[in-house]
Symmetry: C2
Subunit: 337 residues, 2 copies
C-alpha cells in the first residue's frame, strides 16, 4: 500500500506535448484566456491525452485559492445536518471544489474544527452551530480572512453571513393548515427554552392562536427535549384529560413520533381525533404510520444561498431568511370542509 510510484503528469508535460509554454497551458486550463483557437484545442487535447489534472497543492500555494469549502456540523446522525450535507455535496461541482468536513457537537469541538479548517485555507466556511452553541467569538475573529456562513442559530454578529429558516413563516404555514383542516384547539410541544428559534416559534404560535381565535391552554404548551420519550410522556399526560386539544404541533419529528405512539395507546386516532405536525421533515416522517406532516427546511435554497454568499466578491455579510415548505401527509388528514 506504499505507492505513489509513477508521478502523475504535470503542466510541463502538457506544455511540451502541446508545444506551448507552461504559462499558456495554465491560462487555457484555468479559463483565463478568451479564445478557443487552435492553441487552446491543442492544449486541451494534450491535457486529455496525458490524463492531466492540476496539482491543487501547487496551485493554491501560488494563488491562495484552495478550491475547497469547509463544513462544520454537530453530527451526521442528526437529520438536518445530514440532509444539508447531502445537498451541499451535491451542489458543489466536484471537479472544481472539494468539501472538507468537521464534526463537533459542542463549542470546544466546533471551534477546534473551525480552526483546523482555517489552517487548511478553505475558501469558505459553512457552519451549523450545535444546539445552544454560540460561536460568535470564534467566527468573528476570522470573519475578515474568509467568507463565513452560519446556518441557523441566533445571529449575534454582523461580521459573518447567516442563512436561516424563517420560523415565523413556518408557524404561519402550520397554523393556517390546521385551521383549514378544521382544528380549533391546538397544543404546542416546543423545543428547549434557551434556543433562539424555540422562543421565536413559541411567540409566533401564540400570535397565531390569537389571530385565528383558537383554543389553547398554558399547560398545553411547554418547552422540552426534542425526543421521542418527551413526546410520548407529555402526550400521555395531555391527552388522558377530558379537556384535550384536537391538534398538536411538535418542535421535532421525534417528539411527534412519540406523541403518535401515545395517542395510539390511548385509543385516539390520527388524524381523526388529533392532527399532528412535526418539524425538520426527517426521513422518519415519510415512514411513520400514519405518515407525518412536517416542516421541510429549504435545503436546496439554503445551500445555493450559502454558496452564493461564499463566492460573492462583495465583502458584505448578508442575513438571509428562507421560507420553509409544509410537507402535508396523513397525520393532518384531508380537508374537512
Amino acid at each position: 500500500m506504499a505507492g505513489k510510484n509513477e508521478r502523475s503528469s504535470s503542466i510541463t508535460n502538457v506544455a511540451a506535448l502541446a508545444n506551448v509554454s507552461i504559462a499558456t497551458v495554465s491560462r487555457v486550463l484555468s479559463g483565463k484566456r478568451g479564445k478557443n483557437d487552435d492553441i487552446a484545442r491543442r492544449v486541451r487535447a494534450a491535457a486529455e491525452q496525458l490524463n492531466y489534472s492540476v496539482n491543487y497543492a501547487a496551485s493554491s500555494l501560488r494563488s491562495d485559492v484552495t478550491n475547497s469549502i469547509g463544513l462544520v456540523i454537530p453530527s451526521a446522525t442528526e437529520s438536518f445536518s445530514a440532509q444539508l450535507l447531502d445537498e451541499l455535496e451535491y451542489a458543489i461541482d466536484a471537479d472544481a471544489q472539494q468539501l472538507l468536513i468537521g464534526i463537533g457537537a459542542d463549542r470546544s469541538a466546533q471551534t477546534d474544527r473551525i480552526e483546523s479548517l482555517l489552517s487548511r485555507h478553505v475558501d469558505g466556511l459553512i457552519v451549523v452551530p450545535g444546539t445552544e452553541t454560540d460561536l460568535t467569538e470564534t467566527l468573528d475573529r476570522h470573519a475578515d480572512s474568509l467568507p463565513i456562513v452560519q446556518i441557523g442559530g441566533h445571529q449575534q454578529s454582523f461580521k459573518t453571513s447567516m442563512v436561516s429558516i424563517d420560523e415565523s413563516a413556518s408557524m404561519e404555514l402550520i397554523m393556517r393548515h390546521l385551521v383549514e383542516r378544521g382544528s380549533h384547539a391546538v397544543a404546542y410541544m416546543a423545543g428547549k427554552e434557551v434556543s433562539f428559534e424555540s422562543a421565536e416559534l413559541f411567540t409566533m404560535f401564540h400570535t397565531q392562536v390569537r389571530s385565528y381565535r383558537l383554543v389553547s391552554h398554558t399547560d398545553w404548551n411547554q418547552f422540552g427535549e426534542r425526543t421521542v420519550q418527551r413526546g410520548y410522556d407529555c402526550s400521555m399526560r395531555l391527552f388522558s384529560k377530558d379537556n384535550r386539544p384536537d391538534a398538536l404541533v411538535c418542535a421535532d419529528d421525534a417528539v411527534a413520533f412519540g406523541a403518535m405512539v401515545a395517542l395510539h395507546t390511548l385509543g385516539l386516532r390520527v388524524p381523526e381525533d388529533v392532527r399532528i405536525v412535526g418539524f425538520d421533515d426527517s426521513p422518519l416522517a415519510a415512514t411513520t404510520m400514519p405518515t407525518l406532516t412536517s416542516v421541510h427546511p429549504p435545503f436546496e435554497q439554503i445551500v445555493s444561498e450559502s454558496l452564493r454568499l461564499i463566492a460573492s466578491e462583495t465583502g458584505m455579510p448578508a442575513h438571509i431568511s428562507l421560507p420553509p415548505q409544509l410537507m402535508i401527509r396523513e397525520s393532518t388528514g384531508y380537508a374537512k370542509v
Copy 2:
C-alpha cells in the same frame, strides 16, 4: 467578504524569532528531531507566539503527503454511513489530518468523487460502496498509488483492503439470543437478494434454524426492500395466519419498525407474542416503543482498522472481518428461563 488581508506567519518568521534556520523549525515542528532541548522549546514558543500553523499546500507540494484522507459514502442520511462518518471524524486527529468527503449513491457518482479525491492526492481513501455498486474496476486502477479501504460490500479484488462486518457472526448472535429467550418459530425478512451480504445472512439463517432445530417455513423468509412499508406489508400477511412465528429477524431497523406497527395493529404484543430483531442499530432503534433489539455494527473498530490499514507501511492489502454486537432491548424481552 473578500479577505485574506494579512498573510499568516510562515516558517521564516518563526525561524527568525527563534533565531534558528527554517530547516530546524521544520524538523522540530514535524517531530523529526529527537531532543526536547532549549532550541526545540524556543522554536515551539516562537510558533505559539506567532500563532503559526503549517501551510499544508506548501508542505504537500514538497513532500507528497497531504495529511488528508478521503471518505466516499452513498448518503449522509443513511444511518450506517452517518454513524461511520461521525466515528471516523472523531477518530481522526483533526490537528494532523483532515477528512475530505464525497457523496454519491451510484457507481457513476461514486467514481466521480473517487477520481476527484484522488486528484487532490489524499493520503488514503475509505469507500462505502452504495447498494449493488461494484467499484472494483475503479478502485483497482488506483490501488497502487494510495491505500484504499473498502467498507462492506462484496470484495472482488485483492488489490485493495477491505473491512467488513462478520455477517455469519451477526446471525449466530441473533439466533442464540432468540433461542435463549425461548423462541421456537422464527421468520426472516432478508434484504435484497442481489446483495452479497443478504445472501450470506440468508444462508446463515437457515444453518442456524437447522442447528437449533427451530421451526421456519419457506414463505416466512423472503428477500425484499429495506423499508418500513415492506416490514408492515409482509408482517400483515405473515402474522394474520394461524400458523405464525414467535420471532422475527429483520435485515434492517426500518423493516423491523414496520413490522412492529403491523403487530400492534393486529393486536399482537412485542415481545410477549413476537420477538423482533433489527439490523444496523439506527438511532431509531433506541426510540421505538418498545425499543428495538438490533445488531450494532462495530463502528469504532471499523474506523480504527481502516485508519491502521491506511497508515500501514506494508503494501499488503488486508481483509478484515469484524464481529458486531447485539444491542439487546425491549423487543426481545427478558430471559424466560
